[in-house]
Amino acid sequence: MRHLGTFSVALVLVASTATAQEEIYLKVTSPGLQRIVIGLAPFASRLGVDPVAASQFLNTLRADLDQTVVMGLLPEENARLVEAAPGNPGLTRQRWRAVGAQLLLEGSFSGAGNQLVVEAQLWELTSGEIAYSRRFQSSTSLAPTMAHTLANELVRLLTGKPGPFLSRIAFISDRSGAKELWLMRWDGSDPQQLTTHRSIALSPAWSPDGQRLAFTSFLRGQPQLFILRPTQGSFKPLSTLPGVNTSASFSPDGSQVAFAAGDGGSTYIWVVSSEGGTPVQLTTTRGISTQPAWSPNGRQIVFTSTVGGSPQLYAIDAEGTNLRRLTFQDTFADEASWAPDGVRLAYTTQVDGRFQIATLDLRTNQRTVIDGPGNNESPCWSPDGTMLAFVSTRTGRKQIFITDPVGRPRQITSEGNNTQPSWVALVQ
């Protein structure tokens, strides 16, 4: 072997400023958290485009893309390293890839006046191919909705299920002075007050199609069950049985509502047509039966009963037969919520005197306690089953949090006390 030349050089060592950036990047792509990294290229904007709407769109999109489990937005410090190559979009995309992006969203704004047109292309950077291309047009006031729609479709592209970005959470808040029914986006933005009864509202429950919301109100003195159509603002009574008319749960086809109501001193599970009518008593065990939750396949109803002493979860077939106990490891189990897969339940348990959220896998009977500070209760699955909303006192008052499957909790309310979340994919 003959070398042309062998010589030694010394290179001046310079202080590294890149270390911190590299760490963030590596964390995002480290095993166990396989988020696909998506870069958001600067959107070109034609003359006449409403700059406020355009920036609303981008801010919403950026927030959405960074809040999914499957995707992670490329960190800003990495994105800043990318120099666009004029006239060479292929090279520009490779530069996005070089700073860690696996997908790149390119887009442009056009339209004038109160119209906004967004054209978006998603590039798969490894293959260099377009994975998605779509044109959106709407009024400028709907810019955030356009962004949510795009983000939803991107999630659907990667997971087969639409993202949560148009989903909403109904909840109870006392921020106006009384417990009223409220609605917000899944991330806590855009809160809207649905009732102004100045009474006590409780237990909101969505119909699966997002058209109707059942809830309990003391509006007429006794607690009664009502059904509200949020887009129409109208509501009507559904059950006026004596005593507690509470904890409604729609059947998956939306035709029936299970709920708890009293008779004598006991509380039983009842079922009524969601259009109204005479309720049918489903359980007959004296004591307290409450919190029915209709399974996603419609065949069974899980509920809380004190028949064995302490409150525990039981299941009963929707016809009222085949009663069986589900929880055995808890001193307290209440507020069951079915995951959309029909296999897992989330519920409220008690550990060392504090309330905690637990999940139960009905195939394996595996119980998992999600240990968090404070008291944690009222779990509710996101419509796609990847997240949980729950109520926690970890920051003082009762607030609604959401947590993704990795377990990262995020507080989404802060004003007053906020409780009893019910999550729906789309309000119609």
Partner: protein
């Protein structure tokens, strides 16, 4: 381009090296015989030089391709210069490995130094500068 004598070169080298040498790097110039290189559709024109053949033994080298557009590719994957050491560190953690640079001949000298500097900081001791044989040789 001005012609630089051997004397000038040695003087410059001495001034810069003497007080700073703490890591010795071996720079090899090696050559491969291939058709014009295409990585990810990006053409790289390697410098032409008479050189030694690619060594066939020792630890498997890490190959960095530097395109004319100053894109660094680690294998097939583009990596920004500032993220390069983070990407390389795990590859070099198992023991010393040579790093081969397939740099386009039109690359600015400063950029090549930036890459070499990164490799130096990672403790790379053997660097191969890949060339192709001169035309007609």
């Amino acid at each position: 381009m001005a012609f630089r004598t051997a004397d000038d070169f040695e003087n410059l080298a001495e001034i810069n090296i003497t007080p700073l040498v703490d890591v010795m790097m071996v720079l090899l110039i090696i050559f491969i015989v291939t058709a014009p290189m295409l990585v990810q559709g990006l053409q790289v024109d390697l410098p032409r030089a008479t050189a030694a053949a690619l060594p066939q033994k020792g630890p498997e080298p890490v190959v960095l391709t530097l395109t004319r557009d100053r894109l660094i590719l680690l294998g097939d994957e583009p990596v920004h210069l500032k993220l390069l050491s983070g990407k390389l560190a795990p590859l070099l953690a198992g023991g010393p490995r040579p790093v081969y640079l397939k740099g386009d001949q039109q690359l600015p000298y400063g950029f090549v130094i930036d890459v070499l500097s990164t490799l130096n900081r990672l403790g790379v001791e053997e660097i191969g500068m890949v060339t192709v044989p001169p035309t007609g040789s």
